[in-house]
Symmetry: C2
Subunit: 118 residues, 2 copies
Amino acid sequence: MSECCVHPEKTEEIKGQLPDSCQLFDLAELFKMFGDSTRIKIISVLTHRELCVGDIAAALDMGQSAISHQLRLLRQSGLVRCKRQGKTMLYALADSHVQDIYRIGWEHITESEGDGNA
Amino acid sequence: MSECCVHPEKTEEIKGQLPDSCQLFDLAELFKMFGDSTRIKIISVLTHRELCVGDIAAALDMGQSAISHQLRLLRQSGLVRCKRQGKTMLYALADSHVQDIYRIGWEHITESEGDGNA
DNA sequence: CCAACATATGAATATATGTTCATATGTTGA
DNA sequence: TCAACATATGAACATATATTCATATGTTGG
C-alpha cells in the first residue's frame, strides 16, 4: 500500500485551491461535448453557417437519427441553438465561446509538437 | 425514410470545407482528455504547480492507481509531461495551450448564460 | 543485495455512450 | 383533414471507458 509521497500540508493547500467539484463536473461535461468525432464534425460545419439536420447528416455521411441525437446533446449543453424554418430545423452555434474553444483546440493539434518552453 | 431536406450543392460545399477526418478525430481525442471529471481535476491542480502522483491522488481523494492510469492517458495525449525526482514522479502541464483550453472552458461555464449575440 | 517506498500496468468489472431501428411529433400544401 | 416530409425520440445493442485489485517496475538508503 503506502500512502505514496503525500505531503499533508501541500495536499491541504491544493484541496483549498481546487475549484468547486460541481463546476469541475460541468467543465468536464462541456469538453465532453467536443470530445466525440461526430459532435466535433457537427461543430466544425456549424462554424461556417447554420444548417438543417438533413444537410448535416448528408455532409457527414451519417444517419439522420444519429445526428439528431447528437444535436440534442449539444442543445442540452447549450452549445448550439436551433430555430424552426418551415419543416426544417436550422441549427447554429450558440455563442462565440464555442468557436473559441474549437479554434484553440485546432491550433493545438495543428502545431502538433511541444513548444519546448521549460 | 426520406432524404430529409438535403440540398445537394450546399452539402457538397460543406463537405469541401470540412477539415481532414483524421485531424477532426485528433481534435475530438484532445477534448476527450478534458472531458472527464478526474482528468479535469488533475489538469486543474496542475495549473497551479507541478505535483507528484501521490499528492494528486490525496488532493483528489482517489486511489493512486486511478490517478496513474489517467496520467498515462494525459501523457500519451501530450497534455502533461513528467520527470523523475528520486522515487517520485513530478507531473506538470505540457504547454500553455492546455491552460488556455482549460481557462476558456472555465470562462464559458462561469458566465453560464448565453451572451445573446445574434 | 535487500527492504521500503513511489509509481506503472494488466485484467476484470461496472458503467457510460454512440448508433441503429422503429416510430412519434410536428409542419406544409392540397 | 390527409399525405408527404423533416426531425425527434425510445429501446436495444455494441463498444468504449473508468476504477479497482493485484502485482510489476524502478529508486533509495542501509
